[in-house]
Symmetry: C2
Subunit: 302 residues, 2 copies
């Protein structure tokens, strides 16, 4: 049993299994959440409930946040009854939400003024990997905090890389990861739609190409779902659009051209126009279905 | 030692190691090639030289072609002193070149009239995998021919999928594979350029994301080369442009929208405009370098 006392805030579909893995690893965990179901989940697995972020901080050496928006992280960290108001000097905040690198830097500066160190540590991998404790975690922030927090991160992820000592470096790597995820999703749907349009059995095409030079995690995993006509989430189109907003804002600030990512964003707008914002991000195929009249799952015979 | 007698035509940078693997597998191999160096290579490893494609056919049960263009396959198969003029009924042609599906179908029909069966069997994987005998091979054509040719294919590849009984099905799968390869290359250069533009150590970014949901064969292998500033081929930009021509012609014939592939083609035009047509296909990064002023390899410190 570890002596480190952990706080956890943000018990959504990702936060719950991550918190559960901390409890299974033997950490004492104190939780707070905006809504009851997340709290009830964590209590049923042995977590202690607090009445505010401030109370979580007062009970914890390290606090993990897994919330939706940069504004949520700032509110939980710096707002009324927030973490900073209850933290002892030396506390570490590990923000595992996906937020803009610049937001992460600003929050870190404010926390440091109060003696709290921050790591920005966004994750890649959806719910199954959160449950298995095999997330990829990209970390930015001071080495001192990284080294103290490592056992906590290791309870939730299997690939943990300290990208840089600057706060925001983890979020920057996450942006690069999202470019890869989303543009590889684009290649997946474009290739499978082409195969279907050519009149091929796309199940055979999938087998023929998945282990070759065109292979990717997206193709292997989400491509397989598309063969079944399965567009349930995983990560939703709406969450993807949030990431794309961060990406394109960042690109604008850097005066950086991201043509492929921009195309993906436009195609996801079409997916949302089709009323599929709550579907999984493989619903990108729906944009191609509209453009081509071809549905991938109609061309699988094996 | 197998009793099957094999012919091999097209001893370029891919054909040579493929032919060598057939010899190593114990097949007797007769070769012909347009230029001498390929013939000398094959002879030095034990192949017998013929003076024409016709002579190769006369000496062989199965002939493999690995040439550059659809027109080359047609010339070798159907032209003056071509395979058809020397083949015994029941001979099988395995065309492993990348050509348009429609061209493969037309050649197969003409060969069948002369009693020759054809498989279109393009490959994925560049020279190292050709040397290791671990190519991915996508096969279209009659099951009877596929079953007889399988031991030959197994000497050159480790993933062999019979995509369909129609000729052109292998070439169709190859087109899907090329969409994946090229658009995953696009995601690789866009993501690494973004990381460099954010001021991150892209070596760390690479480590942080390569095994996650953004991972791909292109990122892992060609991304690693870009970190070293290595843009030597592998497959060249010029070869990629040939594949893109086939793809976009096919898309036009099908009235199929391939927006990502089209963008890749436009960016490769810029790479050729920069005089880099003979470089490897990861030289796509040069287009981003021009658009952003950021060179990936300048941002690697680990």
């Amino acid at each position: 049993m570890s002596q480190l006392k952990i706080g956890f805030i943000g018990l959504g579909y990702m936060g719950r299994p991550m918190c559960h893995n901390l409890i299974k690893a033997g950490f004492g965990v104190t939780v707070w959440n905006r809504s009851r179901p997340g709290i009830e989940f964590a209590r049923s697995h042995g977590a202690v409930e607090a009445s505010s972020a401030k109370e979580v901080a007062a009970a914890s050496d390290i606090v993990v946040t897994m919330v939706k928006h940069g504004g949520d992280t700032a509110e939980v960290a710096l707002g009324h009854n927030g973490l900073l108001s209850g933290a002892r000097p030396g506390m570490i905040l590990i923000d595992m939400s996906t937020i803009a690198p610049a937001e992460a830097r600003v929050i870190a500066v404010r926390l440091k003024e109060g003696g709290v160190l921050m790591l920005d540590a966004p994750v890649s991998g959806s719910t199954p990997r959160a449950e298995a404790g095999t997330l990829s975690i990209m970390v930015g922030g001071p080495t001192e905090a990284y080294e103290r927090a490592l056992p906590v991160l290791q309870s939730m992820g299997s690939s943990i890389v300290h990208v840089g000592e600057e706060n925001g470096a983890g979020q920057g790597a996450k942006l690069c990861n999202q470019v890869l995820v989303l543009v590889n999703m684009l290649s997946t749907v474009e290739a499978l739609t082409l195969g279907a349009g050519l009149g091929l059995d796309v199940g055979r095409v999938y087998e023929a190409v998945k282990d070759g030079a065109g292979g990717s995690w997206q193709f292997e995993n989400l491509g397989a779902r598309l063969l079944q006509g399965d567009i349930e989430p995983g990560g939703t189109v709406e969450t993807v659009q949030k990431d794309l907003d961060i990406l394109m804002t960042q690109a604008g600030e850097l005066h950086m051209t991201l043509p492929a990512t921009s195309m993906v964003q436009q195609l996801y707008n079409a997916v949302e126009a089709a009323g599929m914002g709550k579907k999984g991000h493989q619903a990108l195929a729906a944009a191609y279905e509209r453009l081509t009249g071809v549905r991938i799952a109609d061309h699988v015979s094996t």
